[in-house]
C-alpha cells in the first residue's frame, strides 16, 4: 500500500514523522510519503496558466461547499457572493494559516480535493490522507442538521486538526459555563477564560497530544481503505468513533491497549 500523508503546517504539535513511524510499525510493508499541504502540493504540479485557472475554479467550488445553515443541506443552486470567493482565493494562496469558523460539507470538500489528484495516484492501493485545519461536517438525515466531524474517510481522506477540537463534545459543565458567559455578553472572556478551566479535559488547538491522537484517526482511514469499516465499538480501541472529548482521550491517549484484541487479530490476518 502506498500512503501519502499531507501536512498541516498551522499545527506545530502535529508531527507526521511520528505518525509515519507508527504506520510503519502497524503496516511494515507499506510505503509512506510525507508531503506538504495537499492543495499547495498538487497546485504546484500544474503549469502556471493551468494553476491560475484551477485556483479560480477551486475558490468558487470551496465557497459553494460552505455550510450556510446548520439546519439545511447544501443547495447546489446557491451562487456564492464575490467576497466569499475572494476569501477562498486568498486562502488558497496562503494555506498555512488556520481557517477560522467556516464549516464546509466534508464529502463535497473531499470531492473537490479529489479533482486535484493526478490519475496515476488514484489506484486502489494508493491512500491519500490529508491533514487540514478546515472545519467540516456531514449532514445527518435523522436530526436534519449538520454535525462537525473530525474525519471523512474517502479518496482523499480528510482529518481535521480543528475538528478534533470542535467536533467531539466537551464536558457538559463547559457548555453550561459558556452559556453563562455569553448571556453576560462576555464573548471574549468565554472563549479565553473557559479553556483555562477545562484544560486537559479536551483536545485543544496545538495540543501536545495531537500527534498521539491523530495516529488513531490515520489508522481509521487505513482500516477504511483495507476493509471498508473504519470503526470499532470497543471504547478503548484506537478505532472507536468518539463523540465526546472524554472518549477521544480514553481511546487515543489513555488507552490500555492500542487496538482491541479483535482488531489486532484482523490486522495480523491482513498482513499475513
Amino acid at each position: 500500500m502506498f500512503i501519502y500523508l499531507y501536512d498541516e503546517a498551522a499545527t506545530p504539535t502535529l508531527d507526521l514523522g511520528g505518525i509515519t513511524n507508527y504506520i510503519k510499525d502497524k503496516l511494515p510493508s507499506s510505503q509512506i510519503e510525507v508531503r506538504e499541504n495537499f492543495i499547495t502540493f498538487h497546485l504546484a504540479r500544474l503549469e502556471r496558466r493551468g494553476r491560475e485557472e484551477k485556483m479560480s475554479h477551486l475558490a468558487e467550488e470551496l465557497a459553494r461547499a460552505k455550510v450556510r445553515k446548520l439546519g439545511a443541506p447544501l443547495n447546489d443552486l446557491f451562487v456564492p457572493l464575490k467576497g466569499e470567493i475572494g476569501y477562498e482565493r486568498r486562502r488558497l494562496e496562503n494555506q498555512n494559516k488556520r481557517v477560522a469558523g467556516i464549516l464546509y460539507d466534508g464529502f463535497v470538500l473531499s470531492g473537490i480535493l479529489q479533482g486535484l489528484l493526478p490519475p496515476e495516484e488514484c489506484a486502489l492501493n494508493q491512500v491519500h490522507i490529508v491533514f487540514t485545519n478546515q472545519l467540516f461536517g456531514t449532514w445527518d438525515e435523522h436530526d436534519r442538521r449538520y454535525h462537525a466531524r473530525v474525519s471523512i474517510y474517502n479518496k482523499p481522506s480528510l482529518i481535521s486538526t480543528t475538528g478534533i477540537v470542535e467536533a467531539p463534545a466537551k464536558p457538559r459543565e463547559y457548555y453550561l459555563l459558556k452559556q453563562q458567559y455569553t448571556a453576560l455578553g462576555m464573548y471574549d472572556a468565554a472563549e479565553v477564560g473557559l479553556k483555562g478551566n477545562f484544560r486537559g479535559r479536551f483536545i485543544d488547538y496545538n495540543d501536545e497530544r495531537m500527534t498521539r491522537v491523530m495516529k488513531g484517526y490515520v489508522l481509521q482511514a487505513l482500516m477504511h481503505q483495507l476493509t471498508g469499516e473504519p470503526f470499532c465499538t470497543d471504547k478503548s480501541c484506537r478505532l472507536y468513533n468518539a463523540h465526546w472529548q472524554e472518549e477521544v482521550i480514553r481511546s487515543q491517549v489513555e488507552n490500555p491497549y492500542d487496538l482491541c484484541p479483535a482488531h489486532e487479530r484482523m490486522l495480523e490476518a491482513l498482513l499475513s
Partner: protein
C-alpha cells in the same frame, strides 16, 4: 461685572446655522461617507481622515460610539483579544491583561478616546441623521447616500412628507452593525444579496469578520458586524477587537479603491 461676554441671541443662531450649513454644503460631496458611528465606522473614519480624505460619518443616534461604551450586559468594561490591544495603544487607552491574550479596558475611556481620535483626524459627523437610500451612478456603482433627520422617521406618516437629501461620495462604507442597512438596500434592488446570520463556530469567528471586510459592490465597502450579516458569519462571536481591526481593514480597502479610481 458678568463673567461671560455678552452676545445677542441672533448671533448664537447665526453661528449655529452658518457653521452647520458651511459644513453640510462642503460635505454634500465627500471622499468617503461612512454609515454608522460604532467602533468599526469610527476606526475606518479616523484612518481615512488621517490620510487627508474628506470623511463624513452619518449616525442615526445623537451619540457616537455604538455599543463600544458599555460592552456586554451593561458592564462598562470592554474586552479585546490580541492583537487588538495595539489599537488601544494607538489611542492611548489604558488596559490590563485579564488572562493571556485577553485585555480589558474601560468602555467610556476607550470609546471617548476613539471618538476624539476620529475628530482629531478630521472626521465630520452628521448625527441624528438616518440612512434612507443609496445613490447609484452608471454601472450601478454606489456613489452616495440619501439621508433624513432621524426624528422624521419616528413621526406619524401623515406629517412626515419631508423629502430626504442626497450626499455624494466616491466610496460608501456600511458600518451599520447587524442591520447592514446599506447592503440591504442594494439587496432590495436585486444588486446583491446578504446571506444572513450563520450558526457556526462562534469562538473562531472574529478573524472571519476582519478577513471578509471589503468591497461588496462597486463603491460599497462593508465593515464590522455588517460583515457578519452580509456573509452569514456567526453573529455572537464578533467582538470589539474584530470591530476595530475590521475598521482598519475597511480603510485599507477604501484606499485601494480610491487609488484605482484616480488611475482610471
Amino acid at each position: 461685572m458678568p463673567l461671560f461676554h455678552s452676545v445677542a441671541e441672533k448671533d448664537v443662531t447665526r453661528a449655529i446655522v452658518s457653521s452647520f450649513l458651511r459644513q453640510f454644503e462642503q460635505y454634500a460631496d465627500s471622499d468617503v461617507i461612512i454609515v454608522g458611528a460604532g467602533p468599526s465606522g469610527l476606526v475606518a473614519g479616523k484612518e481615512l481622515a488621517a490620510r487627508r480624505l474628506k470623511v463624513l460619518i452619518v449616525e442615526r443616534n445623537n451619540y457616537l460610539g455604538g455599543g463600544f461604551w458599555i460592552g456586554g450586559y451593561l458592564m462598562n468594561k470592554v474586552t479585546l483579544r490580541a492583537p487588538a490591544e495595539t489599537m488601544l495603544d494607538e489611542l492611548g487607552v489604558p488596559y490590563e491583561e485579564a488572562v493571556e491574550g485577553l485585555y480589558v479596558a474601560d468602555g467610556p475611556h476607550a470609546c471617548s478616546k476613539l471618538i476624539a481620535a476620529a475628530c482629531d483626524a478630521g472626521v465630520k459627523f452628521a448625527n441624528m441623521t438616518i440612512f434612507d437610500d443609496i445613490v447609484l451612478r452608471e454601472g450601478n456603482r454606489v456613489a452616495g447616500v440619501v439621508v433624513n433627520w432621524t426624528p422624521i422617521a419616528a413621526l406619524p406618516r401623515e406629517i412626515t412628507c419631508v423629502d430626504p437629501v442626497a450626499l455624494e461620495a466616491k466610496v460608501v462604507i456600511d458600518a451599520t452593525g447587524h442591520d447592514a442597512c446599506v447592503v440591504r438596500r442594494l439587496e432590495e434592488r436585486g444588486l446583491t444579496r446578504t446571506v444572513g446570520f450563520g450558526a457556526m463556530w462562534v469562538e473562531m469567528s472574529e478573524d472571519l469578520v476582519v478577513e471578509h471586510t471589503g468591497e461588496v459592490h462597486p463603491g460599497l465597502v462593508v465593515a464590522g458586524m455588517a460583515v457578519s450579516t452580509t456573509y452569514g458569519l456567526p453573529r455572537m462571536g464578533p467582538t470589539f477587537g474584530a470591530m476595530l481591526l475590521s475598521g482598519k481593514r475597511a480603510a485599507e480597502v477604501v484606499m485601494g479603491i480610491l487609488e484605482g479610481i484616480t488611475v482610471a
